[in-house]
Amino acid sequence: MMNHNYGALMKRVCETGFMLDDLILYLDTHPCDLSALECYKRAAQDYAGAVEAFESQCGPLTIDGARSDCYWTWVENPWPWEGGCE
């Protein structure tokens, strides 16, 4: 069930996602910082690419990614707290 690229694809989502998380907090208190805004734009693209790559091979990361017509793939394993056990 688990795609053999799962670990690498998830790592990329986590790295790009955390970049966004941190930039968001900075921008909340520095909404006029143009270079941070530019960073955010690039980081958001990286994150979207990482999510797309993950979901195309490993299934939905958010409910928006549950695209199958014949099964509600959202409930498929694994769930994020199940790390270390396949």
């Binding site: 996602g17 409930v75 498929e76 394993n77």
Partner: protein
């Protein structure tokens, strides 16, 4: 991981303040059958749930409860906007105001602070789902009790929405309980705890 959407699940637009009503409704913010307890109950129970459909429903109802926590916060906030000291004194809102001004703080209608004893996470799927069925009914009764006190349609409308969601969640938890039981020994549902006991010949709980 969660992401925030800058919207309420159901709109709240209350034009007339009513601090007395706020002091009742705040019970669904931090009271014994409130939305904060609901979110923590379901999101905490997920780890001991072995079945995927039920992990999904606990995650997604738990997430919706966070949205309901926000709706209650918005109702209480709008009911306590632009108050005069006289309104505060006459409405009985004074004791809350003294400690929190008009900030939101999770407490029951009687002033008892929120605490984790409001909910259970027992590590047994049948027990946890029965807890949830009861919790949804208790929340539904609390909303019924609130609705008897509410005259303002701008307040009653979102409260009715929240009450209906309790009924829907009760239905989904009933289905989740059926799914759990379908995985168990039909002659004795309590023969083992699928979240803890290992079955013979199987490396992990099945």
């Amino acid at each position: 991981m969660w992401k925030y959407e800058k919207r309420l699940q159901y709109p709240v637009n209350i034009s007339q303040p009513n601090p007395k009503l706020a002091s009742f409704i705040i019970s669904q913010y931090g009271g014994p059958d409130g939305e904060s307890a609901a979110a923590m109950r379901y999101l905490s129970q997920r780890y001991a749930m072995p079945y995927k459909e039920c992990k999904g429903v606990l995650t997604d109802i738990g997430t919706e409860e966070l949205g309901h926590f926000e709706i209650i916060g918005a109702i209480v906030h709008q009911l306590t906007r632009n108050l005069t000291p006289q309104q505060i004194e006459e409405s009985g809102f004074g004791p809350y105001y003294i400690d929190h001004t008009t900030g939101l703080w999770p407490q029951a209608a009687g002033g008892i602070p929120f605490n984790a004893c409001e909910f259970q996470s027992k590590g047994d799927p049948i027990t946890d789902l029965n807890e949830n069925l009861a919790a949804e009914q208790k929340a539904r009764v609390t909303y019924d009790n609130i609705l008897r006190m509410v005259k303002d349609p701008e307040v009653a409308d979102p409260i009715r929405f929240l009450r209906e969601r309790e009924v829907v969640h009760y239905q989904r938890f009933g289905e989740a309980l059926r799914i759990v039981c379908d995985h168990l020994d039909s002659k004795n549902f309590y023969a083992f705890n699928p979240a803890f006991d290992r079955k013979e010949g199987c490396g992990q709980s099945c």
